[in-house]
Symmetry: C2
Subunit: 138 residues, 2 copies
DNA sequence: CTGCCTGCAAAATCTTTGCAGAGTG
DNA sequence: CACTCTGCAAAGATTTTGCAGGCAG
């Protein structure tokens, strides 16, 4: 006797456009931003579906979730790298710095088991350096 | 004629116990955790007041807000330092590593104005290394 | 027909806010 | 009284979930 594993589609249609949309941006959009962009570009899709598929993609390891003030953002690059986060608009950008793998071997004490690290620079992105108002644009 | 500036109390009673409570912990509690701890220890206080005063303390620069998966956490130490975040329980601990001030002078390109950086190690804290269940204890 | 995917609306989670009453001087 | 601080409940913001209908094999 044989156990047959249910076949599962690699990628649903909506998941595909979501992945494409996120990969087409460098500012690590929020679910809401992706939802708006997709609908403005002719893809009828609900916010729930955006959230659902972003979560699925996260669990599959296709995208990474980033937390900060305000809504979560999503990063299409999952290999270890560092970020810059704009304090004003909340956007997050990838940086082109080498990942310091040796930091993950440090003994930090307290019995911590280190699996990785994040380095996030904070400041103002170019767009926001002249601005006075709208302290928290989404 | 003289402009009289209203005198303002340095610290309200509730704010004081909140600050004391957070300073008595090393795991950077959430508002909810502080709320529970205080009420269990005889301080009648509402969750709204905990949030309100944590926000006030943050704006005063007395505590720092930390973001991650799940609710925000609060750090009683505001001088620059690094953190360890447990992937399972979400708790955040201070690390005793020197702050690399020189990193804030790097030119990261894209016109970023750097104000500081965060280094966060991810992994499992001692409590969570043996555990199998309860993947997201608060 | 069977099962996955989606939209919609409701629920859930986390946080802020309006308002009225208590406390202080 | 004038003012701040607080609790309560409601509202807000973000994210997840139940359910029914649609579509593909």
């Amino acid at each position: 006797m044989r156990i047959i594993i249910m076949s599962r589609r690699e990628r649903t249609p909506k998941q595909h456009v979501i992945l494409e949309a996120i990969q087409g941006r460098t500012d690590h959009p929020t679910a809401e931003e992706l939802y708006r962009e997709l609908n403005e570009h002719g893809h009828a899709i609900s916010l729930a579906t955006v959230y659902r598929n972003l979560r699925a993609l996260t669990q599959e390891g296709k995208v990474r979730e980033l937390h900060g003030a305000g809504p979560d953002r999503f990063d299409p690059t999952v290999s270890p790298h560092y970020h810059f986060r704009c304090h004003r608009c909340g956007r997050i950008y990838d940086l082109d710095l080498p990942y310091r793998r040796e930091l993950d071997s440090l003994n930090l004490g307290l019995g911590f088991k280190v699996l990785g690290h994040q380095l996030i620079f904070l400041g103002l992105c170019q767009n926001c350096q002249g601005e006075k108002e709208e302290p928290w644009q989404k």
